[in-house]
Symmetry: C2
Subunit: 339 residues, 2 copies
Amino acid sequence: MTFSVATQLTLQSKIDQKTKPLGALGQLEDLALQIGLIQQTLTPVLRQPTMLVFAADHGIAHAGVSAYPQAVTEQMVLNFLRGGAAINVFCRANGLDLRVVDAGVNADFNGVAGLIDRKVAHGTANMAEQPAMTAAQCTLALAHGQALAQGLADEGCNVLGLGEMGIANTSSAALLAHCYTGLPLADCVGRGTGLDDAGLARKLSVLSAVLDLHGKPDDAMGILRCYGGLEIAMMAGAMLGAAARGMVVLVDGFIASAAYLAAAAIQPAMRDYAVFSHCSGEHGHRHLLAHLQARPLLSLGLRLGEGTGAALAYPLLVAAVAFLNEMATFASAGVSEQC
Amino acid sequence: MTFSVATQLTLQSKIDQKTKPLGALGQLEDLALQIGLIQQTLTPVLRQPTMLVFAADHGIAHAGVSAYPQAVTEQMVLNFLRGGAAINVFCRANGLDLRVVDAGVNADFNGVAGLIDRKVAHGTANMAEQPAMTAAQCTLALAHGQALAQGLADEGCNVLGLGEMGIANTSSAALLAHCYTGLPLADCVGRGTGLDDAGLARKLSVLSAVLDLHGKPDDAMGILRCYGGLEIAMMAGAMLGAAARGMVVLVDGFIASAAYLAAAAIQPAMRDYAVFSHCSGEHGHRHLLAHLQARPLLSLGLRLGEGTGAALAYPLLVAAVAFLNEMATFASAGVSEQC
């Protein structure tokens, strides 16, 4: 923890004086402590919660690694803008502001209203043939993400959820997870949007070949450039920008967690700011979270991405902050302590 | 399922046409289906969500089975009425109306404002000496609970959370769980509000003796009368009353689940209306939920009772209903389906 030990002890003492048995609010107590530490206060406040959803396409989609055609990325962006996707519904339900970013969709949106245009390219290159990004593209995507988070901080937002859309991006995430954590590739490769057994075998075979082609670069940026996606790099940048501004970073599922791995490889202090919102149904996520020794807030078998798990977990952050600020103490309520 | 198969198929088809891979919203899809079936509609609505917290004392508290003195039940009721307890905070945060019921606290509240007086007795008898309740007390507690739920239904509420407060009530719940499920007693007995190893051993020994004294009655009411609590019987009655009126019943932790066991033993159709909100940190709850093959929505290591897990899970019900009602379909959004 890069935060002060004194603040940690004072926060823990405040939590322990609330009218409940010690530790009886479980993970919610850890969450209240973490948010208090991030904000360096005994009375944290969550302001202007925002969900940034980054969309981009992947050259590897043409290798048959997804159950859906690449056109779905563009179609879903339009669905986001019209308010009809799951992430729209959950952000509305839980009071998050939703912003949609074109990080690199393989389509031209021609200035459609509501879309934040940070398109770095019309999708990544096919990593079965060459690195997914050039160094310049990867750096630009990171910088855009960082600037977007900083812009939100300037607006007053201090809690940022991050989601994504990109057909074939579980392939990218699997390779990133393997390279950043050392987990076996097979533990990182899953069914994505719904591959059958044959599809899954094909995906693993394609990704093994991609790995053989590029090997494992020995630096964080090299891994991200070879195997990442534009939406993943931009998410990683947004996470870094958010952490630098002392925002709470709400990490969604498998792909967002792969972006987190990249961000944490670049800046290890990232960890203090990250809240892992859920364990997704995508095969690799459980392994990835276990590797990080992260305890996710939800485990509902979600495997949709878009930031849906993060949006669904957000009320738990609100509840954690509320109990820290609003609950009576044993002394104030006149309640007897343990015998 | 007592509900129509046609409604089930139509609801599932509606869920499957939403713009997401099949099953990608995991347990939230099951929840949307269940709520649609309870309300027998494709467009369910959650109205006037209410949390009923029942408080009562337990004669067995005098046998040293809890880490806290009995006076805490009364003190916490006053804390609820002043708005300082965890359940107050979480109900406010998540938009639930909270009502507190004196089912049988061993104290006189003298008509204090805001408390619903349904006191059946000044606590149960000490079940180490005699059955916890007389048959008349048990029946009255059930009837009060049922009437309270029906009154809420008349007001327009259609989703009811149930919580409790009662020093020593994990002892009651452990014996109920053992008798209704057949799980070994040791699997049902836990640390409650924080017993140490010696306290836990003592609790198990006391409860084993109680079990030897009364045996296992062969009817649902007999078990509830011998080992229950007034708040537990009243919760069971409220669950039955709510189910009879087609309300969604949000079950909290270990003690609420023991009340559910009593309700379901009396009326098996209860199951269709129950949503298991969380798996508590209390030892017996995991076993109880596994026995029921119930998948709780949350698993945050909470062990506070009061309805806190149910209140924290409520936004997931809102989200489930919202996606069913608001998400676009593949056809309406012009999104391509699986290859």
